[in-house]
């Protein structure tokens, strides 16, 4: 195992009229638990179903209905906590967060304020070779999602879709350890990557399955270090919370805008008001949603319909034993086991399916060559078609077979690309393609010699020049390759040309 040590990256600095400012960011990430059923009802969580078709009596908050915890969702939260190297609390409890909204049928969200299931953990967010931010996780709790209010279907009426109501969310709360917009995006990407490895959240931001509330404040250089030393938030600036962001791009834009807005206020001699803000992607601005004074009083209290959630250490241990290899470990292993560069290993482990695909290709073959083929050929080709790795028309076995053909000297790298394209588009077996299309590399010395002789005979002038300037050997090799339809072994051709020309 490689012992990877990292330096902390520099925080983002914005130069103002009165000096430099640094950013301090904390995030609350809402990740939808990958589960077929909702947190407290048996209703389906399937995305894109007919409005109000995945709604049980419990979800619709019919009179007398009671929540019953879905054990699998608890397991997923524990698994996520373990993946973030976090403390698992064997006793946690559910609380009600009370507020009125039509897409919240119960009039309260069942959440975990006082006793979350997961405590402190950390995430390593790499920002470049040898650079990484350690972001502390404060807690993870499980809670119900709300439904969807639809205001633009009718000029006079609003509609409510309760399909999402009661779906399990994990709220992952970080400490204010993120120091710039890029780090914020990288942090979410890292969480997403880990949860996809764990199979606890599909990370689909477009569908809203991963979204974040972002707390932004600014401070002077040195202040953040004082906060770290003392734990006193007084050293940090007043924060604003930007709600419900589900795009990496918008998160970065919103943070950038918000930081500059706060700096402008401070440099004007004003004070930043603690408030909740919304990002308007059309205008690229954040605007006030509600001030601290207007903040809801959620009247949290323990949910009397549910007993405290008690789990066994053995159960947690069993989940820990079943954890897959996580991104950081996998990357380190790819570097040592396959001799990959840091960059290639990062690219290949970014997505768990890609990593799995690569490992299948590399198994028993040249790891570096496998990495090149997966990253350069396959990823490039998939990107062109807008496909995900899981939708690849060519499987790992077939890509591996192409690499074997190259290693055996049956085909050249160039021909291999031709074979890859055919295999990719037609789904045919690489060996069969080589056979049927007559692409097998010619290693037969006689045939190569004959081809070389033919080219030499046909180009006496070039022969003269080549004797003066041996660099022209390449021209002859090219001609021979052309004449053989690329099938001749380039190395053998090169040697023969040199011999025949007496070089």
């Amino acid at each position: 195992m490689l012992d990877l040590t990292f330096d902390a990256p520099k925080p983002k600095v914005i130069s103002g009229a009165t000096g430099d400012w640094e950013l301090v960011i904390g995030m609350e990430v809402h990740a939808q638990v990958a589960s077929k059923a909702k947190l407290f009802s048996g209703a389906s969580t399937e995305f894109g179903a007919e409005p109000n078709s995945n709604v049980s009596f419990v979800d619709a908050a019919m009179p007398g209905m009671l929540p019953v915890i879905n054990e699998f969702c608890v397991e997923q939260a524990v698994r996520t906590g373990l993946g973030l190297k976090a403390q698992i609390n064997l006793v946690s409890a559910f609380d009600r967060k009370n507020y009125f909204y039509p897409d919240l049928p119960q009039g309260y969200q069942i959440s975990q304020l006082y006793h979350p299931i997961v405590g402190e953990g950390e995430v390593l967010v790499e920002m470049g070779p040898g650079l990484a931010r350690r972001v502390r996780i404060e807690r993870i709790h499980i809670e119900q999602d709300a439904g969807k209010s639809i205001h633009d279907m009718d000029p006079h009426m609003s509609f409510v879709d309760l399909n999402r109501t009661g779906v399990a969310l994990m709220e992952i709360v970080s400490r204010p350890d993120i120091r710039g917009p890029e780090e914020a995006a990288a942090y979410i990407a890292k969480l997403r990557q880990i949860m996809r490895y764990l199979g606890t959240c599909d990370g689909n931001m477009q569908n809203g399955n991963l979204r974040a509330d972002v707390n932004v404040s600014v401070c002077r250089p040195g202040d953040y270090e004082k906060y770290l030393e003392t734990g006193d938030f007084g050293h940090l600036g007043t924060r604003c919370e930007i709600k419900n962001m589900n795009s990496m791009r918008f998160i970065q834009a919103a943070i950038e805008y918000e930081a500059r807005r706060q700096i402008a206020i401070l440099e004007d001699g004003g004070t930043v008001d603690q408030e909740t803000r919304l990002f308007d992607p059309d205008k690229g601005e954040t605007r006030s949603m509600r001030s601290k004074e207007e903040a809801h009083d959620y009247r949290y209290f323990p949910c009397p319909d549910l007993l405290p959630l008690e789990i066994e250490q053995e159960w947690v241990d069993a989940i820990r034993d079943s954890l897959p290899e996580l991104p950081d470990e996998k990357k380190a292993r790819f570097i040592t086991e396959f001799g990959l560069s840091d960059y290639d290993a990062s690219v290949l482990t970014a997505d768990v399916e890609a990593a799995r695909f690569f490992e299948k290709v590399a198994e028993g073959r040249d790891g570096k060559m496998a990495a090149n083929w997966v990253i350069n050929e396959l990823f490039g080709r998939l990107k062109k078609d807008g496909l995900e790795i899981g939708e690849s028309p060519i499987g790992a076995e077939r890509l591996g077979a192409i690499i074997e053909l190259i290693s055996r000297g049956d085909i050249s790298g160039k021909i291999a690309k031709q074979v890859f394209e055919i295999a990719y588009t037609t789904g045919r077996e690489p060996a069969e393609i080589v056979e049927t299309e007559g692409l097998k590399q010619v290693t037969d010395t006689g045939a190569i010699e004959a081809a070389v002789d033919e080219v030499i005979a046909a180009n006496p002038a070039q022969v003269e020049k080549a004797r003066e300037n041996p660099k022209l050997v390449g021209w002859f090799v090219g001609q021979v390759m052309k004449a053989t339809g690329g099938k001749a072994n380039p190395k053998a051709v090169n040697e023969t040309v040199r011999a025949r020309l007496g070089l």
Partner: protein, 493 residues
Amino acid sequence: MSKPNEMTIADARDALRAGEITSVELTEACLKAIDEAEVLNAVVHKTPDLALEQARAADERIRAGEAPALCGIPLGIKDLFCTRGVNSQAASFILDGFRPEYESTVTQNLFDAGAVMLGKLNMDEFAMGSSNETSHYGPAVNPWKVDGRKLTPGGSSGGSAAAVAADLCLGATGTDTGGSIRQPAAFTGIVGIKPTYGRCSRWGIIAFASSLDQAGPMTKTVRDAAIMLSAMSGHDPKDSTSADIPVPDFEAMLSGDIRGRKIGIPKEYRMEGMPAEIEALWAKGADMLRDAGAEIVDISLPHTKYALPAYYVIAPAEASSNLARYDGVRYGHRARLAEGEGIAEMYEKTRAEGFGAEVKRRVMIGTYVLSAGFYDAYYNRARKVRALIKKDFEDVFAEGVDAILTPATPSAAFGLGEMADADPVQMYLNDVFTVTVNLAGLPGISVPAGLDAQGLPLGLQLIGRPWEEGDLLNVAQALEAAAGFVSRPEKWW
């Protein structure tokens, strides 16, 4: 032989099995009694067609020789229970016309045991009240009467109590959050038991205060309560607070033998200003149990005086949250909005029109005690008091006490409207002897034990160990036998 509707559950069961009567005959007798008792306002949704259908099916089962415990027994169901296809409104206008597509676990258990449902019974709105006067349907009336004055049957299960006492049904379901089964039972001269919290599933019962609500039977005798409770109880995976504990045959545990049982008399229940006849009845109850072979001991439950304030913080807090779902969006009453009004107006008007004054009062109290800045002073302190009250009981039971004897109510039934102008706290004082039991999650039973000077029934309460309802019922039956309470209200309706 008495009229069919006047029978006890036990007698009716035996008669049904012996073929001396049919469920249809029993049911028709009850339906007739209900029709004659409109003035009592005990039944708010009659279900005669369903009742007769169930009765015919029960008669089939009896003929086939497969009659479960309550086969063919006509019951009334408190309006707090959701019953499939039948109005279930918690006696509130906000659930106007609400007919659920599901059946509460308790009523389903009763139906599985062969019971017949005659209709839904009146109650205080959302079970909030002690006189049935907060009902949207108007108050149920106590079949007991004094000097021509109409009296309250108590509450919140006032309709259930009136219906059983007036022989409109053989038994009824009630629910008890702070005394809502035991107080009306005492006011009407019947038996009512609130079992241990978690004994009956709360699934499908419209929630008032989830950590306190518990269903139980209201019957003419202790034996009937035992029969009905066995049928209602049982673990329900749909209610996380329902206990996975076997339900014994409570009736089989009625030995009548209480020799050696230790009965505690808590000194803190001797309230200042307690009517002498209540105190005398209490002492008489202790004597009767002693005569039956029990040992009577003085005990102390030191935190009793904090119970009522703690209860009136916790119950409204939970209610304020539980009742948030009645918002006019999905079911029940929705206010008509004026042009340009939006969701805030819809909430405000719907809830202003849909809830009565007492419900509004408790929602506001509950909202207040949970508010930022007040939470610790009220809700958290009340929770601590609750833990201390629970410990009071645990300490006493640890000393070997088997059951605790107290008065059920501080007075006999009072006149309807009598408390209309009183401070609401005066009404809350009705629960002074009963709320501790809910806060501690214990079983408690009210047994009719005598008449006051006006000739109105008075009850005594027995409090048992958790999950020992069988033992508690046995002591209650001994008390019932010794008290020999046989008085019936004179039929004036």
